[in-house]
Symmetry: C2
Subunit: 512 residues, 2 copies
Amino acid sequence: MVQNSLGRWIPQQFNGRACRPYCDPFSVQPNVQRASRALRRVNPGQSKLVSNLIDAVIASGLKDGMCISTHHHLRNGDALLNNVVRVIDTLGIRDITIASSSVHPVHAELIPYIHSGVIRGFECGVNGLIGELASKGEIHCPITVRTHGGRARAMMSGELKVDVAFIAAPCCDLYGNMNGCSGPSACGSLGYAYPDADYAHCVIAVTDNLQPYPVTPISIAQTQVDYVVEVERLGDPQKIVSTTTRITSDPIGLMIAKHAAEVIEAAGLLKDGFSFQTGSGGTSLAVADNVRKKMLAAGVKGSFGSGGITSYFVDMLEHGLFNTLFDVQCFDLEAVRSIARNPNHLEISSDMYANPFNGGGVVNQLDAVILGATEVDVDFNVNVNTESNGYLLHNTGGHSDTAAGAKLSIITVPSIRGRLPIVRDAVTTVTTPGETVDVIVTERGIAVNDNRPELKQELLKRKLPVKDIRQLQQEIVALTGQPKAVEFEDDVIAVIEYRDGTIIDAVRRVKD
Amino acid sequence: MVQNSLGRWIPQQFNGRACRPYCDPFSVQPNVQRASRALRRVNPGQSKLVSNLIDAVIASGLKDGMCISTHHHLRNGDALLNNVVRVIDTLGIRDITIASSSVHPVHAELIPYIHSGVIRGFECGVNGLIGELASKGEIHCPITVRTHGGRARAMMSGELKVDVAFIAAPCCDLYGNMNGCSGPSACGSLGYAYPDADYAHCVIAVTDNLQPYPVTPISIAQTQVDYVVEVERLGDPQKIVSTTTRITSDPIGLMIAKHAAEVIEAAGLLKDGFSFQTGSGGTSLAVADNVRKKMLAAGVKGSFGSGGITSYFVDMLEHGLFNTLFDVQCFDLEAVRSIARNPNHLEISSDMYANPFNGGGVVNQLDAVILGATEVDVDFNVNVNTESNGYLLHNTGGHSDTAAGAKLSIITVPSIRGRLPIVRDAVTTVTTPGETVDVIVTERGIAVNDNRPELKQELLKRKLPVKDIRQLQQEIVALTGQPKAVEFEDDVIAVIEYRDGTIIDAVRRVKD
């Protein structure tokens, strides 16, 4: 075990790889060459079509001990990863690592294959039951959690080698040109699958909507695709995209949102060229709504909105409040419709979105980002991976990436959740380092990081309810009482990789 | 010297690199990994702007003996390559290799820098005076001529290593997002510059039209760009794109075009899904016009047009005769306008267009291509590089790429040019191997390659003027007389690289 700069104890090795301890958000330099793969040749007349998933897996040359990936644009509607693992099991292949861009509750179907040794571990964050069972010691599979940008970096640097990528392609032609814009499994942006197309040693396009050549627009191109396979269904359309995303009606959420928008305004960011990102949660959308009103009132014309895109951002684009949307993932049907028809609604890869080791991602140009948390602590560290019960339940997403990139990163969070105080002495797990978190907004007050004294002054001047983070914590704990500390065993079940590849924290098995 | 499979004598080494002799169009397999480059890191707040070209060259770390590139989308209006070389000379840097996607007559300004040792050679084909002087032995600079697809392959395989790419960006933001759609130097597609952005060790965006972040559409993205520099002018807008491209009015050209269209029809290709490419020459456009009429008459709905795009193809797209245009280069203003506004007019890289060593280029899906020639021979080999006087005057472009990819490749050529017969016993230089050439159409008759006997029968059935290639040659020579053979010295001034990296021919110094 070794301690990183945040005082977190991390293993020296995890899942066969040396762990470099986290030091700070910006100074690690990449000292490697971009990952490579063998050039291939596809001659005229050569077909890429294979008749089913079994033949595709055979054609890919997948063997015991290799690594596969899928993308998570189909979210909890995805059937592909489960189907692929079923085929792998049928073929008697064992000891497979899953390096999907994320894993969702629907993939709890994989649990028997973890028990049986078909799956040996996850090179990706896991949402839901798999993480919970791993936290309880009921399944054994090392988990390496990465940010969206960190995953692109890990593939680009060769740290994460995917042998076979199975790319769910909602619209695809027989040469492998694909997009996510149409078809029964339409999901909009395919941004998280770009690095897989670029770095996986074998790329298989899997579609339930084979269209005549050439499919347009082209998100991932024929030049990257080895095989094309048609399946009955990629997933459950009802669960692939939400039909709507909605602003919260909870008065606490609304108050938090109002304050968050006021913080952005106070920071002097609401001027022409403003760029902005929020998630799809009800409070985030309420912040977007407040910001929209402020932009309209002040006649501000923003430059771009980014990240996971919702109908609220589409509306802002269409009303000229943004010039451009940078879309790595569509969160609702309106976003899917928009990306298919609006040339200023751009699909971007996770590399372009947030990779810290390229010529500069979109997050570097962000003015303000609204982020959530399961816990925060008095050093402004944020946890989004584990809950206060210690269970690993959530992937990091773009949390640490946008916090590091944006000029202003705001955590919006209720002060109490499930009777537990949200502000802790130390978060159970550090996902995003406090150094990159500027403001924490709760319904009981706004805490400003000491590294932003000028912003704190401005908020006080504007009579916003600014409180010292420790004072805020005390007020909350006075209501909830001091929660009982969760006890952990020594076994590390997961490491939380910071976007630069260093390990910012380790997740341990929870004591029975 | 060693003889390749076409009987051409090629050097064993050229410009420090071993020459692999050409064997056949399709069997060479790539046995290498994709080229790499160092990962970089650009943190938030870090600027990429440098104040002028001199500072850009200094920032790039360019040193004696290195290799630079530009793209040729500004064609004969390009001022950037000349300006860059002038700056390199000012900085006292020597022994530079030019690996641009092509060099045009305007770059004759580089000749003094060849004499003075600033430029040591060309890893690209050269159009115009540089090749002529090299052919005469008046300048000394090894020249490696590549196809468009072959250049992408050579960069991808690491055979061609570009140290610094200077990318003319007609519309660019301060983070390096760029397109060719607008601004005084608008040129449309930037397709030839994509491999440079992807593989050059340092990428500099040079613009005369710096726009607010983010520029859209994004042809080459911020993630690929190291520095951005603003200059007064990238070139002469009058010469960057022709305002119009025109169908020939020459009766010989019109007759050839009519026959070419009839050959396509006879080959059974004019049906739904038809895909097609022509160049921008007057005869090519006349073929396009004939094909268009036949498609309209038969109610055929094609799939795509590709290559260098003209207003004729734009018109066919807009009238529903194609679903899609794959545009690696805009040949006229109408094409530039179209690519900026029509989502079915897609910009593609030279890699996607024609690289033989990827997952399959667009050329592999082509039904018919119309190509030109300076000479053809009785084995259907085609020369587009040298003229019959032996001077190296032209780059290969996509000639060999499309001939290899298309189901039907047709050479349209007048039987006599400058009193010289076009059909030879052996072409002066082999650019494109006869094995990939199906039909040669002249105003005196149509020659069909023996490897297409069924097509020959069909043309005869349709009473088209089919002639044996030797009979055609004899008829022409009966009119022109047997031309005096050009005499060559032993010195090789250039090698003609086939798309797969083998050497298909060598160009020698012409005897005084």
